[in-house]
Symmetry: C3
Subunit: 350 residues, 3 copies
Amino acid sequence: MKNKFFFGFIAITTIASAIAHYWIPSIGVKFAMTSLAIIALAALLGKATETVAHYAGDRIGGFLNATFGNAAELIIAIFLIKRGMFDIVKASITGSIIGNLLLVLGLSLLAGGLKYKQQTFNPLLARQNASMMLLGVIALFVPAAFSNGLEVKQIHTFSLIVSASLILAYLLWLVFSMITHKEELENTDDEEDCEQPPSWSMRTAIIIMIVATTLVAVESEWLVQSVEKVAHKLGWSDLFIGAFVIAIVGNAAEHSAAIFMALKNKIGTSVEIAVGSSLQIALFVGPLIVFISYLFGTPMDIVFTTHELVAIGVGTFIAVSISSDGQTNWFEGILLLVVYMILGAGFYFV
Amino acid sequence: MKNKFFFGFIAITTIASAIAHYWIPSIGVKFAMTSLAIIALAALLGKATETVAHYAGDRIGGFLNATFGNAAELIIAIFLIKRGMFDIVKASITGSIIGNLLLVLGLSLLAGGLKYKQQTFNPLLARQNASMMLLGVIALFVPAAFSNGLEVKQIHTFSLIVSASLILAYLLWLVFSMITHKEELENTDDEEDCEQPPSWSMRTAIIIMIVATTLVAVESEWLVQSVEKVAHKLGWSDLFIGAFVIAIVGNAAEHSAAIFMALKNKIGTSVEIAVGSSLQIALFVGPLIVFISYLFGTPMDIVFTTHELVAIGVGTFIAVSISSDGQTNWFEGILLLVVYMILGAGFYFV
Amino acid sequence: MKNKFFFGFIAITTIASAIAHYWIPSIGVKFAMTSLAIIALAALLGKATETVAHYAGDRIGGFLNATFGNAAELIIAIFLIKRGMFDIVKASITGSIIGNLLLVLGLSLLAGGLKYKQQTFNPLLARQNASMMLLGVIALFVPAAFSNGLEVKQIHTFSLIVSASLILAYLLWLVFSMITHKEELENTDDEEDCEQPPSWSMRTAIIIMIVATTLVAVESEWLVQSVEKVAHKLGWSDLFIGAFVIAIVGNAAEHSAAIFMALKNKIGTSVEIAVGSSLQIALFVGPLIVFISYLFGTPMDIVFTTHELVAIGVGTFIAVSISSDGQTNWFEGILLLVVYMILGAGFYFV
């Protein structure tokens, strides 16, 4: 019964947003309608994530949420690659990584920390995540440090080697975290005892997750279009729009689900969504885009700008410093958000 | 009885140093007299800090010591700002941060570690301090990395945003550490049981702390003047004098109190004085100076030189690496002092 | 009986490799023969290390292995210094540091981790090692950051000060780790109970260690000569050959012994060999070479190139991140090897 109303509400908001997008000229109405639809869909997505987490563990739930969320970004990146818009692709990769590490994680820790004095998750997972993120930073930093003075062809070969190394590392990470050391990385909090059984089966939940993610991706795209228009009118730079505005709006799915889980005291799932999503972009989606760019005959290298590297490096260091003990509190959320704000100001002025 | 002699000794040395400062031309006599007065006052200050720590906990004791110590530095900085001497202000901020993190903390760990095999303090506090220091480094690093190519006006707006963010973070840190998570950050060592009750009340101790800090500030200023003359005669650069000579002499209060507490096996208070003082300068005093510079119509930006950033970054990393487990020993003190020595050599030659 | 065959095999392979080196022109045969001899000698060295570790503890065993291994490198460096080949000396120092931290440690963690789900070593040792490595990075980074604009004479004085500081720190580290805090840094795993008693005495084992290390050094030198010829034919750069090819081949002793110990579940000894060897080079052998260069009247400074600093910095950060909890697994080995691969590609193209 409750479900029926819920699905009805989602259907109505989604249809309303489509009508607003295609036939209503007012940016304000478009913005309001798509935002409403995204919030409704995000709630659905959060519910589905929680259900999957119930059956398959927090980590798998978070992993699937992050993966479906990133699938959308991959598709958008492929379209940009085809048109040779490499700078925007790199800016959006940067934006996704720091958006997840600083904004999504920061809001989750803050929201969860205001409700619970201290939240904990598996410290081994925290440390492995830290080392993985460090690998991501190193893999972007080394080509930038070494590319100076190299020929274009050498840079491309180097980019392919680095990309292949990262994809290999990411696949082995899945083997490690899902197969050989699955139990060791399990969440340690067992406060789920008194929970009521979920109303969906695992299968239903995954299907809902896929559908909801797809709809969120479409809605996000619509939202991005209206936001971009406003942003350009305000005279904001492409870099700022790509790395911040689009990243914030476009990651609505991760944002809402991660905060939703933090408020349920499942900070482990929040971390998996936020950090896991960053890792997937840095170590898998990004490198995959490099390879795909070759298939299209428009090769993209893996050399990021200094500003992007600073943002990714700085975001990783503070996130690692905060999360590596497996304990979180509201102030750690504040620290992440302050760093995000400082970086945002930097990108705004550049 | 013992107190009487003590206060009499302090009064005599203080008066003697004033006489030497104003009427005796010999630099040697000035130096000896002010040094003697500072040592006597520092012992008083250490005693007062210990008394406050007895009543209000190690952290409040350390916090008050650091705050009164930094108040003096803030006043000096304001005078320099008025005269537009921004480079010296920045050099002295740098010197204060690394002086506290490397020299004060290093000497404390070494002194305490030679007496006790291992000293411990609250590891949660250690990790929070680490993340806070990292925020300070990031907040100084990002403007420097992004300022290249910006207009002066943009740099100033950016500096104000960063400064406001840091002050906000520091105030929330006080809320976190003094209110919401006070108990979690309390020191875990309870070896204070067999201690005799302090001879002063909390109120008396705080008043003594304020008076002693003020007198130490005045004496330090006198000492700095004579040291500066000698330093200039020796041909030392302004940067070296500002960041090392003045920082060492001018932080006599923090030095002596921190070492005093380490020798009493209260390493938690030493860390609070040393790291807490650094944090206060990086996240509060420094940003406050930026705002104050606007009130005076002589706006100072927050862009530090590469050498200063290297010194602050390097000092923070080694201090974080050493202190983040909440355990200390003599060799960790050596490591901090060696890094201080290397940085000192660097600043000497530049 | 078993020992007899073993020593016989070693004698035969060693003599065969000498014959191949001096009288057989085919590079392939030289390569095969010296490789075979090194493998046989490395097994002997591993056995001797294990025996010393049995009597004197894992750390002394690892320390002696690392020291004898580095003695050979020091001798080679002295010959290069005499001929003023500073660039190659610095490249080989870089190669040794990252070779030990990434390749030797990576292979050890991987090999050990494939056999044992999780291996542990003393976490206090891990953290002290981390701080020491950080000191090494700082000591190389600061001169590079400050040397710009200095006169040659100033750079040399600065290099001597930094070198003296590092040697002092290393000697105090030996005092700390071998005398004042020996027990605290002992390995915690006591799985050695069911071990059979070693067949050699401590004295015999140390003599075997010295002889085997010397022979391995000679064989490595021969191997390096043939590899260099091939490498030059392939058009590889001097930097790549120095920092990677020679480092890999020339550290055969450390490699094999470290992996050998990891497979025996003595990961603490592996870490001591790999990290301890890196530390010794960064904090003792390198600085000693600077001093020795003055005795020869061909002063070498301590300023490394940006690429070398990036490699050492990046290698240290990932190794510290992985090892600082005192727990290791196969995936952490993969992470180290991937970073080594990326750096290798970078040095190859530069």
